[in-house]
Symmetry: C2
Subunit: 124 residues, 2 copies
Amino acid sequence: MQKVSLRDKLSTFQDHWSPRIVGELNGQHVKLVKFQGEFVWHHHDHEDELFLVVQGKLRMEFRDESGEERSLEVGTGEFVIVPRGMEHRPCAAEEVHVLLFEPAGTLNTGNVRDSRTVESPQTV
Amino acid sequence: MQKVSLRDKLSTFQDHWSPRIVGELNGQHVKLVKFQGEFVWHHHDHEDELFLVVQGKLRMEFRDESGEERSLEVGTGEFVIVPRGMEHRPCAAEEVHVLLFEPAGTLNTGNVRDSRTVESPQTV
């Protein structure tokens, strides 16, 4: 058993949109990721996803039940849970550092495959 | 869908050792708790537990495979995952604020019942 420092783990990579695995428990992964810019719209059929902002500001865009686009500004020390099935798009005007909590095997781009899809995230 | 502020949720209670539920996803709970002093030695037969320190310093005591007692100092922005079956005891010389990720239904005192057991944590 050992402790994990979010800051130390975040210092091991600089690229955006590519989550790293930093912990595993109960079939879930704890990941860290850096976002900047606009991601791809997607959803996850079977996974809820938690986004906890470690540093910076995340804008989570999503489509509510009526199909209307909305967004939430999520700052340092705040989190949002995106339920399975909900179309969403993480965005960040400036770099934001985020902790993810989601089932092991969750694909970053959900139902979409594009150049930013990471099939097998690294463990750091 | 709404965001959750750790600071705002932490401001809603002052007591120690009584986790509050602040989120649920994939059958897991996100909880916040304040610790001060020494908790009871216990383990969880079926649940791994993550302790992420939001503010302060946590000393996690545990018994390793050989039965030897060890401890880890876990500071702000650090986490530790206690695997199922491992005897452990959270301690804090001064108040520490901790975020927990664990399966819904995880009992704070695990295999032990005592005056600090919380059968049904409140949602805040």
